[in-house]
Symmetry: C2
Subunit: 463 residues, 2 copies
């Protein structure tokens, strides 16, 4: 292993040259004018992988192509890893806030050492190249990789991955042979602490409209006698949670796995700066379930959130009406074990059960994606935790993410594959923002950690 | 009295000629192009009153002039009545829905007999002329009126009465000498049942904005931990009323006079068609205070009505945010005894007392007008009830109005005068709508009722 790590260290300068070459290609998938650049980035990567000994090809879709590359010299008994990354980047607007050309990568001095500054520095070109440089070191030392590796690099991730289902379906034969997916597009807990994201929250979106009278009424002539649908709506939504923040929809929590005391204790030891996190947005007090620690509230617990509400008069001054209807838009963040379609039904039943006479509720179910939770006993997870901990000299944090990563859901749904999420970004990397950066130390140690991880997966990571 | 009533009957044809002449003047106060017509209507009425023996003059304001006329031949011991009416009318839009020229009055056959069709037929030219024709009959028989009469005819009532306070202030010396105000701009209970409107609801308008985080947040990353101001708003407004419809703002009902069992029984006997009233707007079930009869709910009980609500995302689909703030617009309909400014304060205190940590409420108080309730023992009220009952052969209904009539409040506030509201319109008269009409029977019997009322007020109606 030490020889491989030494190789990573020795090749750092050329690794950066390769990364910078890729960063110079403005592969902005959201902007059709840049689609030729996207294709150029895919071809550049295909050439790079071919030079490294991979079998690489583009896989065409209705949109931008995916890049499929395989290196299976490890033989049929080695674990089969599917690495997913993306070669496209976010738009650069507002350009004026950048201190340098977003597509002329710079190595500048930052408060925590040198940093790579460019659009895509961390998201996801830097992380992809970091992983490939770890492969390069293994190949240089051993002539082969310790695992069978299939790579899928997508070109539309920053544009909502419209062709991903098509890509996964077209390439099913190639992809579903893998044991699990490995994605390096997430962050460390902090600059010193490696992290694996072991759970993601899903989503069930729902709009509800309460109908009352068949037209807006004069609140002088009808007020006091006629049903007010805004009042009905707030009465019902006012019962959505109890005083301790627990969602009151019957059977809402059915099927979910409670956070274990060990996990909660491990999170408590991460030293999450609740005051800083909330203080940054003008708040001070956790407003979720009173009996859960803050990290559990945002990572591991489902929510019922009213994202929007409207009804009646919204202009200046006042208008004395009882409106015909009132509407609320909600999203439920879900955790593993909850079925988004069932959540739609349970919410509708909750609302319906609270309707007074004459009120009618209309429901518009929206997006529905289940939550994701990695099996904490998965062997590849243990192996990865150990590898990262060895590189950083600190236990690997098993963290959650309160939002969704749609590709993880797609791999699970379409290919039945679990995903290992281990990346080396930091929260201050400005992904999607001007002056995106990737700390050189994160790139370098991330490459070393990837190298260790490949070896660890080979030793004990097969599922 | 019979001689006076006979005179009313005998002059009916000429009464209509005079009304039609006034109806031909398109005195639309909302449209500046018609302001010369408004002034022409005022001058036409001044001439009419002068011919009848009144002392009449225009009283200029920043807007359209008021018309002041007095006939005090009854002497200092007679009651002093201030009659208020208005010579302006509503616009006619949409003109295309009229079956005849709105300013070419027609006497047409309707399902309930002949009707006068024109803009202003009932609101308020027909009712004003009806009253003046009653005066004319008294003058013809006795050479004088039984009461001291001061008339105030306004020209901006249909445009929000912007100059009324100026007019009342300028004419204070003339007007405040009256014992009470008499307005004939309301309706009968039905075509057979005369009515006096004895109470009006006031209004306190209030906007409340709940602030949470200092910007819209990503509900994936913050949801479950961060305060959601929409949730706070619905939690609070969901507690506005209890399950029986009673407003839960502390001290909300303090100071109001409960409807007496006698009054409630009298209203119950009016045979209000609750099912028809609610059915016309798609409802079936009274939604107000469960222990009050429907007419009390709309006439005599204060309300807390949410007229509008908004916050967060309101476009198509969903947006996964926790918004920075959420807003509701409310109006409270008030009854006599409630102070609108105090209601503003009580509501603000109610909201504030329910705020969780980190939530901040901002209040924007709006219109504030007290409710109005006529003293049920006022002698002029008893006299008027009796006079109307005699004309129609049926007890006079003492009804309420759930909305406000701003001039009544102005007379009370600026001049300290109570108002007798007795008019002869019907609910199907299409005031403010195309094809406005006044049933000839209502005009005729209204004139007779006015004649009886003048006599009755002289006999026992002084306060």
């Amino acid at each position: 292993m030490q020889k491989i790590l030494d190789t990573v260290d020795a090749q750092l300068e050329t690794s950066l040259k390769r990364l910078f070459a890729l960063l110079r290609i403005p592969s902005i998938s959201a902007q059709p004018a840049h689609h030729p650049d996207c294709r150029r980035a895919a071809l550049w990567l295909a050439d790079l992988l071919t030079d490294m000994g991979f079998t690489a090809r583009l896989s065409e879709t209705a949109g931008l192509p995916g890049l499929i590359a395989t290196h299976h010299a490890a033989g049929p008994d080695a674990p089969h890893v599917l690495f997913y990354g993306h070669y496209d980047v976010q738009p650069v607007d507002p350009r004026s806030l950048w201190h340098s050309d977003p597509f002329d990568p710079q190595l500048t001095e930052g408060p925590n050492g040198r940093r790579i500054v460019a659009r895509g520095a961390v998201d996801d070109k830097g992380q992809v190249i970091s992983f490939l440089e770890a492969c390069r070191a293994h190949l240089a030392v051993n002539g082969k990789l310790p695992v069978r590796l299939t790579m899928l690099l997508e070109g539309e991730e920053e544009n909502g991955s419209p062709s991903l289902p098509e890509l996964l379906t077209n390439e099913r034969a190639t992809l579903e042979a893998a044991d699990f997916v490995y994605i390096a597009d997430t962050n460390m807990w902090d600059a010193a602490t490696p992290a694996i994201t072991a759970s993601l929250r899903g989503l069930a979106a729902m709009e509800v409209r309460i109908h009352g009278p068949n037209r807006d009424l004069h609140s002088g002539f009808f007020g006091g006698l006629a049903l007010n649908p805004i009042q009905v709506l707030v009465n019902i939504l006012g019962q959505l949670k109890d005083a301790r923040g627990r969602v009151q929809i019957p059977e809402f929590y059915d099927g979910i796995v409670e956070v274990s005391p060990e996990q909660e204790q491990a999170w408590a030891q991460l030293g999450f700066d609740t005051a800083g996190f909330l203080g940054g947005v003008g708040l001070a007090t956790p407003a979720g379930e009173a009996d859960k620690i803050p990290l559990a509230q945002i990572w591991a617990r489902p929510t019922a959130e009213i994202n929007g509400i409207y009804g009646g008069y919204q202009g200046d001054g006042s208008k004395t009406i009882i409106p015909a209807h009132a509407t609320a838009k909600l999203t439920f963040r879900l955790v593993a074990g909850q079925d988004p379609d069932k959540i739609h039904e349970k919410f509708a039943a909750f609302v319906t059960s609270h309707l007074p006479p004459d009120a009618r509720a209309e429901f518009f179910p929206g997006a529905a994606a289940p939550g994701y939770g990695l099996n904490p006993n998965a062997p590849f997870l243990r192996a990865a935790q150990k590898a990262l901990a060895e590189e950083f000299g600190k236990p690997t944090a098993l963290i959650g993410c309160g939002a969704s990563i749609p590709v993880v859901e797609a791999f699970k749904t379409l290919l039945g594959l679990d995903t290992l999420l281990a990346g080396f970004g930091l929260d201050d990397d400005c992904a999607h923002s001007p002056n995106e950066k990737f700390d050189l130390a994160c790139f370098h140690r991330g490459t070393r950690a990837h190298a260790r991880l490949l070896a660890a997966l080979a030793a004990g990571g097969s599922t």
